[in-house]
Symmetry: C2
Subunit: 164 residues, 2 copies
DNA sequence: TATTGTTATACTCTATAACTATA
DNA sequence: TATAGTTATAGAGTATAACAATA
C-alpha cells in the first residue's frame, strides 16, 4: 500500500497550495453569486448549463451524472429540485423506457440567462483579471491537459461497485 | 445592477471549464484518500496541516478560520471533532483570555504522518504526472498570482460581520 | 462597545442500499 | 442477469443568530 513515498518539489508544493486556495475562494464566490442571483446551487447551475448546451436542451440522467461526477441518487435529488421549480422536465426516453430524459424549460433558460452575466463577471474578476493573455493561454493548455489526464485515469477505487 | 455583461474569450472559457473539472476531480480523490487513510475530512486535514506547520503546533482559532475560509462556528465544530479524537487540544490564550489556542498533539502528528504520503502521491499522480517541469513552473507562477489577487480582493459581502 | 469563541438550530447536500421497471 | 432510475434513510457539514466572556 505504501511502497516509497513520493515527494513534491517546492514548485509543485507551491503550485498545489495555490491551486487549492484559488479553487476554494473561487468556488465560494461563485456559489454565493449563483445563490444570490438565481437561488441556484452550484450543481444545479451546472446541470442547467449542460442542458442548455445540449441539443434540444435534453440529456439522459446517466449522461448528466457522468458530466457532473455525481452519485445517481444525488442527481435525482437535484433534478427533482429543479423540476419542482419548473426549470426542468423529466420524461421517459422513447428509445429505452428505462432511461429518463431531462429537458430544460423556458423558465430554466430564463434563470440561466439571469444568472449568467454575473457568473461570467465573477470568474473574470477573480480568475483572469490579474493575468496576461499569455498567462491565460498557458493556463488553458496546461489545465486542459491535466483534465484529459484525469478523465483518462478515473479514480481507481472510487466508483467500484462491490470490491472490498 | 447589470451594466454591460462582460464576456469570456474562448480560451478563458476553456481554461475555466478545465479548472473546475480538475478542481472537482482532484478534490474528490483527495477527500477519498484522506478518509480512507486517516478518517479525516478535507477540512480536518487542512487544520492539522496548518497546526503542524505552525510554531509550537499552535494557532488561534480565528487565525485558523482565516486560513481555511470558514465560518467560526464551522471551525469550532471541526476542531471539536479533532479534539474528541485526541488529535488537538484547546486552551485559552494566556495573553488574551478571549482567544482559544488550538494545539496539535503527538497523536495528531501521527495521523498527519500516516496520511501524508498517500496525499502527496495522489496530488502527484493526478495533478503533476502529465506535466513537464516548465508546465509546472508556469502553473505555479500563474496560480500564485491569482491567489494573491484573490487575497487582495476578498469577497465584498461574504464575511462581513456587522455591516453598516 | 467590540472582539473571541461556543452553542442551538435548521437546512442542504451526499452517499448507500433496497427497490421497481425495463432490456 | 444487467441496466436506469428512484426512494428511504442516515450522516456529515455549513451557516445564522443568539449567547457568554473578556478587552
Amino acid at each position: 500500500m505504501s511502497p516509497s513515498p513520493p515527494q513534491l518539489s517546492p514548485k509543485e508544493l507551491s503550485a498545489y497550495f495555490a491551486f487549492t486556495e484559488v479553487s476554494s475562494l473561487l468556488r465560494h464566490s461563485v456559489e454565493k453569486q449563483l445563490k444570490d442571483a438565481g437561488q441556484l446551487s452550484y450543481v444545479q447551475f451546472q446541470l442547467l448549463a449542460r442542458l442548455g448546451d445540449a441539443p434540444g436542451g435534453s440529456q439522459r440522467m446517466t449522461d448528466l451524472a457522468d458530466g457532473v461526477v455525481y452519485s445517481r441518487s444525488g442527481l435525482t435529488y437535484q433534478v427533482q429540485l429543479l423540476e419542482q421549480r419548473g426549470l426542468v422536465t423529466r420524461a421517459p426516453s422513447p428509445e429505452d423506457e428505462r432511461s429518463t430524459i431531462a429537458t430544460i424549460t423556458d423558465d430554466g433558460r430564463g434563470v440561466l440567462a439571469t444568472v449568467f452575466p454575473g457568473h461570467i463577471a465573477t470568474v473574470k474578476d477573480l480568475l483572469f483579471d490579474s493575468l496576461t493573455a499569455d498567462d491565460i493561454e498557458g493556463l488553458e493548455r496546461v489545465l486542459t491537459q491535466v483534465s484529459a489526464h484525469l478523465r483518462a485515469n478515473p479514480p481507481r477505487s472510487a466508483g467500484s461497485r462491490k470490491k472490498s
